[in-house]
């Protein structure tokens, strides 16, 4: 990539990020109709771009699969060919009978959803088998893990809740206090990390995020 193009790409993306971020932040701090309308306009663009990314994703994955099928240098190319056929079939069906038609719905429920539910149903076998093997109390940490898991599973079960109705209150206490404290730590940490990352992107310190590293 030429240096000029890299320069334009870097600054254009930076300007877009700053305009988008300020438009969203502005509505929090300024109760001005113009600020609100700018945000609405930028948000509408964002939604349109989000729609377009579905199409971009379809094109990208199709091109990748077609190249892989042409090269046939991997064992998985028959599956990629199968996926490509399915993509075409589903797109054509959606366009012809309509995504909200009973035909499309029946096809969707009979294939993708049924298979997905079957896969999810299998998890319980791994889950129980895994619990048998791994929740063995050897240390304080494994004790905390095993006891928490058993408590939450048991306290929500009818065989505990029926004779001891207060069990659900204890389960709620566990969720609302120790669980919330830990999960809020993760959320707050992630939030601070996102702010720091955003500042770094705006300052141009995270060039990888702006896809301009290949020019350097």
């Amino acid at each position: 990539m030429g240096a000029t193009l890299t320069y334009v790409r870097l600054n254009l993306s930076r300007v877009l990020i700053i305009v988008g971020a300020l438009a969203a932040l502005g509505t929090w701090y300024f109760s001005v109709p113009m600020v609100d309308s700018v945000f609405k306009e930028v948000n509408a663009w964002q939604i349109n771009i989000s729609s377009f990314t579905l199409f971009t994703g379809l094109m990208t994955i199709s091109m990748r699969y077609i190249r892989a099928i042409q090269r046939r240098d991997s064992d998985i190319w028959p599956f990629q060919a199968y996926a490509l056929v399915l993509i075409i079939v589903w797109v054509l069906m959606g366009l012809t009978v309509g995504m909200y038609s009973d035909t499309y719905q029946t096809a969707y429920l009979s294939t993708k959803i049924t298979l997905h539910i079957a896969i999810l149903g299998q998890i319980i076998f791994y889950f129980t088998s895994g619990a048998y093997r791994t929740f063995r109390i050897r240390t304080l940490r494994t004790a905390a893990l095993a006891i928490s898991a058993v408590l939450i599973v048991a306290l929500n079960a009818p065989w505990v809740q029926n004779p001891f109705p207060a069990a659900s209150n204890f389960a709620m206490w566990l969720l609302n206090n120790p669980q919330m404290a830990a999960s809020r730590t993760v959320v707050i940490t992630g939030g601070i990390g996102s702010i720091v990352l955003g500042i770094r992107v705006i300052l141009g310190l995270e060039k990888g995020a702006q896809r301009i590293t290949e020019g350097e």
Partner: protein
């Protein structure tokens, strides 16, 4: 005495037999206690006046969201009986198909002999992309965010569509999907609309603290158990009741296998 380590196959066979096959053939009819929160939710849905509008929407994956349908279907039946109008707002690509499933399974549509006529009593919006941004745009200006329904019919040509302007027209938001935090933040937190999640048990464990953050505004039911409770309040037996049998056995098996695993470890140690 040394307890032998069980092979995975034995665990799988026990789970398949006791939790799936036997309750599937001979339903256990497991009883379960009623929850105060589920009763509050029932009262809220029941008390919606005729003609009010309930939005059903969010983002999630169909197969996971199926757990939420156990509670949502009874709620849809209540709203249909009381003349509450419904707008389905899918914020995920699979949510369109899932929301159609909810309408079809609840049998509230006129084509199934129900009371709700499309366009007048309920509307299905198309997928609204953009995640939280899409939701905010929808709440601020419904016609701008989605000028047509899922069939491509302009909202102005639908009686209910003409009435919709922004979030102020929505009386209640039900989220039958995984992505409840977005709804809590933008629908309840910023705009004060009461929100209900017929949550999957995983989502309930994770997001139930929101009920403490927004008391009297955010409500959640607990997985299939909550769904079964809603079914019981409405007087029907659906997916919730069916799943409770399996959960009853599985939760017991889980505890038994953890205890057995520890007993195996302890007795092996004694031998050594």
């Amino acid at each position: 005495m040394k307890i032998p380590d069980l092979k995975s196959q034995y665990v799988w066979v026990t789970v398949a037999l006791l939790a799936y096959i036997i309750p599937g053939v001979f339903p256990l009819g497991t009883g379960f206690p009623m929850s105060d929160t589920t009763m509050e939710i029932y009262d809220i849905v029941q008390s919606l006046p005729e003609g009010s509008i309930c939005a059903i929407g969010g983002s999630g994956v169909f197969a996971f969201d199926l757990e939420s349908s156990a509670g949502t279907i009874p709620a849809l039946k209540i709203m249909a009986e009381n003349g509450v109008r419904i707008i389905n707002v899918p914020l995920g690509t699979e949510a369109v198909q899932y929301e159609k499933f909810l309408i079809d399974a609840s049998r509230i549509e006129t084509k199934y002999g129900g009371t709700h006529e499309y366009g007048t009593d309920w509307i299905q919006f198309p997928y609204i992309p953009g995640g939280a941004s899409g939701l905010v745009a929808f709440l601020d200006d419904i016609h701008a965010a989605s000028p047509a329904d899922v069939y491509g019919t302009p909202l102005d040509e639908l009686p209910l569509g003409r009435e919709l302007t922004n979030w102020e027209d929505i009386d209640l938001w039900i989220c039958p999907h995984w992505g409840f935090p977005t709804i809590v933040q933008y629908v309840t937190g910023e705009r004060g609309i009461t929100s209900i999640s017929f949550a999957q048990s995983g989502a309930y464990a994770r997001y139930s603290p929101y009920m403490m953050s927004y008391p009297g505004q955010v409500y959640m039911t607990n997985g299939f158990l909550g769904g079964a409770q809603m079914e019981q309040l409405v007087g029907m037996k659906g997916l919730g009741h069916a799943a409770i049998d399996a959960y009853q056995v599985l939760s017991l098996l889980f505890v038994v296998f953890v205890a057995l695993g520890n007993a195996t470890m302890l007795t092996a140690g004694e031998e050594e």
